[in-house]
């Protein structure tokens, strides 16, 4: 990314919108399809005006049929288009599981490289917005296990633009996750013009020496708040934004861990079999003799869904105070 480029302040929704718009302008093979992406302009107004600007062949309203959305997009991608499929909420992605895992992720392997599947599946995920059972879920761990699929979850406007552009240009399927609670709450400077951020690179968002925190999504911003707050207590916490969930940036995590010797992993998705489990196992395999404390994971609880009632939602979402306390405990360990 050209650091000297002039920048513009925008929130995450605006970053997604601008990136999609630029891609549609730049490459006529790109198209957007999904529920309410056309006339309604997407439920978060991300694609508002796109239908008028690019026409119904490139901005396609679909029925409420996720398997079809992805299945049709897979066919388009294999035949040379660059579809950007939207699942309106991540909670609705399950009907498309077979198309994503069974078809998109295996296309290159199955055809021995004759076909690729340059498909992006965008979907808002995560809770904390009173979205209740069917508008709050985190789905990354369900797809994390699948080779052939890339999963991105950037959480700042600049990262969203760079990684979404990279995802659209990637020759293979990418699941692009956008945390709803960051959509309008997170603002930042975004370089103008075209740039990409390489897929598979984490970003050290805050330097520190006593503890490494790995997080992503909305939690990342809370972790940064907690770590900044702890500076007043004399604690030095390094915060890594994973950004790319798969492929995972082992190098950045291990370099940091070897410096701080302690690791805290924070994610909203539930703990059992989650992303933190993989990071933890990787670190134990690669850097056991650098660990000075047990690895700790702060995650959502193992309950079937996020409740609507405020106390239930608060219980599910990890508080910034809980993060700060976990950081204190690990530094002191």
């Amino acid at each position: 990314m050209a650091v000297s480029a002039p920048t513009k302040t925008m929130n995450n929704v605006e970053a997604v919108r601008e990136t999609l718009h630029d891609a549609l302008v730049r490459d006529e093979r790109t198209l957007i399809m999904g529920e309410d992406v056309g006339a309604r302009g997407n439920v978060f107004l991300i694609t508002k005006g796109f239908l008028e600007e690019f026409g119904p062949k490139r901005i396609i309203d679909t029925p409420l049929a996720e398997a079809s959305i992805v299945g049709v997009a897979v066919g388009m991608a294999m035949e040379g288009l660059r579809p950007i499929a939207e699942i309106q909420f991540a909670d609705f992605i399950y009907p498309a599981f077979n198309q994503i895992v069974g078809e998109a992720a295996k296309t290159r392997y199955r055809s021995n490289g004759d076909y690729t599947c340059p498909l992006v599946i965008r979907t808002p995920y995560g809770g904390g917005v009173r979205g209740a059972l069917s508008h709050s879920v985190s789905i990354e761990a369900l797809f994390y296990h699948v080779p052939g699929l890339k999963i991105l979850a950037p959480s700042t406007p600049a990262d969203i633009k760079g990684l979404l552009t990279a995802a659209i240009e990637d020759p293979d399927p990418v699941l692009f996750l956008e945390h709803k609670k960051t959509y309008r709450s997170v603002k930042g400077e975004v370089p103008e013009g075209y740039y990409t951020i390489p897929i598979g690179k984490a970003d050290v968002k805050k330097q520190g020496s006593q503890l490494t925190v790995v997080s992503y999504g909305y939690n990342l911003h809370q972790a940064l708040d907690a770590a900044t707050r702890l500076e007043d207590e004399g604690l030095s916490v390094e915060v890594i934004d994973l950004r790319s969930i798969r492929p995972m940036d082992r190098t950045t995590i291990l370099e940091s861990l070897r410096k701080t010797r302690k690791l805290l992993i924070i994610h909203e998705d539930n703990k059992f079999g989650g992303i933190g489990a993989e990071i933890s196992a990787m670190v134990v395999e690669e850097a056991f003799f650098d660990l000075d404390a047990p690895i700790r994971r702060l995650c959502g609880p193992d309950v079937p869904a996020m409740g609507y009632a405020q106390p239930l939602e608060e219980e599910f979402m990890i508080s910034t105070d809980a993060m700060a306390q976990a950081m204190r405990d690990l530094v002191a360990f």
């Binding site: 010797r261 000075d292 404390a293 360990f333």
Partner: protein, 429 residues
Amino acid sequence: MATTITMPQLGETVTEGTVAQWLKNVGDTVEKYEAFVEVSTDKVNAEVPAPVSGTIVQIIAKEGETVPTGAPIAVIEEVGGAPAPSPSEQVAAGHAAPAPAPAAAPVQPAASHAGGNGKVANAPEVLRRVSPAVRRLAREHGVDLAAIRGSGTGGRITANDVLAAASEGPAAAVAATLTAAPAEPARSAPRPAAPAAVPGETLPLTQARKIIAQRMLESKQTAPHAWTMVEVDVTTLWAWRAREKDRFARDYGVPLTLLPFFIRAVVESLKAFPLMNARFTGEGILVHKQAHVGIAVALNGNLIVPVVRDADTLSIAGIAVAAGRIIERARAGKLGADDLTGGTFTVNNTGANGSIMSAPIINGGQAGIVTMEAVVKRPVVVKGDAIAIRSMMNVCLSLDHRVVDGAVASGFLVDLRKRLEAMDGSGTL
């Protein structure tokens, strides 16, 4: 133990009291809760119970005297306590005769109180919980975990505790031991004075530099070094090498240097003087059966010592190939942990840098280290008192004087010289 009795507060608003009557005199014994003084205030008159059992050793407030609440009025020497130094002339006069009833209260030596506090760190518990990083760092820096006070939760030893202890170094530990010994109080070497304000650039220590510094210091401080040297005539050896080197390089793909000849002679001498292939341990002198020879190599400004395993089973050619491979791996940064450990003796080719004499530091607790100095042509007195120009090489030996004395060391070195001088091409490579 003496307990000072104060004027009690007989009512919330009362600020002072008057001693109406002493019910006990100096020297009398009182039981706990037994009334021993009558106090009057403007609200009440009351008998005051003794707060402890013991002997009254001093009366401070006389009858009729008014004192503020909290002011001392008497002193009671408690049962079982050590007698206080005589607080008054009356006691000193021998009036305090009655011995406190020995069975009245259990005697608790002060020491048992201290022991009961539970504040003493349980070292084994702490040591059982060391993290992988702590274990590794302690091993790398030669730090004794039992000597470290942990700063982590529950007294846990943290990685930073180990690094802090390592940076203080064994110097501090040794100094502490020496100071603790009754012998010579001045032996703890004073630290060099802080350098004066001469400007300069401080180069941060790399991990490799730290380890080298630590190992060198450790070796110098634990092994009493002695040093000796012989001159070796390598004229015939030099000629043999010159005859063979082209063919050898062609056949084996590695250059034929003086090093493999030298290592071959060293391992033969080690067989003849097994005490040189040994190390000093707390249990005794450990004499090794195999000879694994370390070769000091300078690499990117750091010293590393890759090891040629079982060098005593290899021919000169075998050593040349093995050493060539391991040095190549070292330069490529591909050495494994096995390549750097397990050495039983070390060879240092100091002559490669032009040195003609050096006093090396013993490596890794071994009994000795030899150097090959530069081969130089010198006029030498030879057989028949003739003077000839010969290729001469000095061979220097540093030895751990705990393991061997000068006689063995000199025997080894002279043996080595004979073997080198006998290498004239009559044997096989």
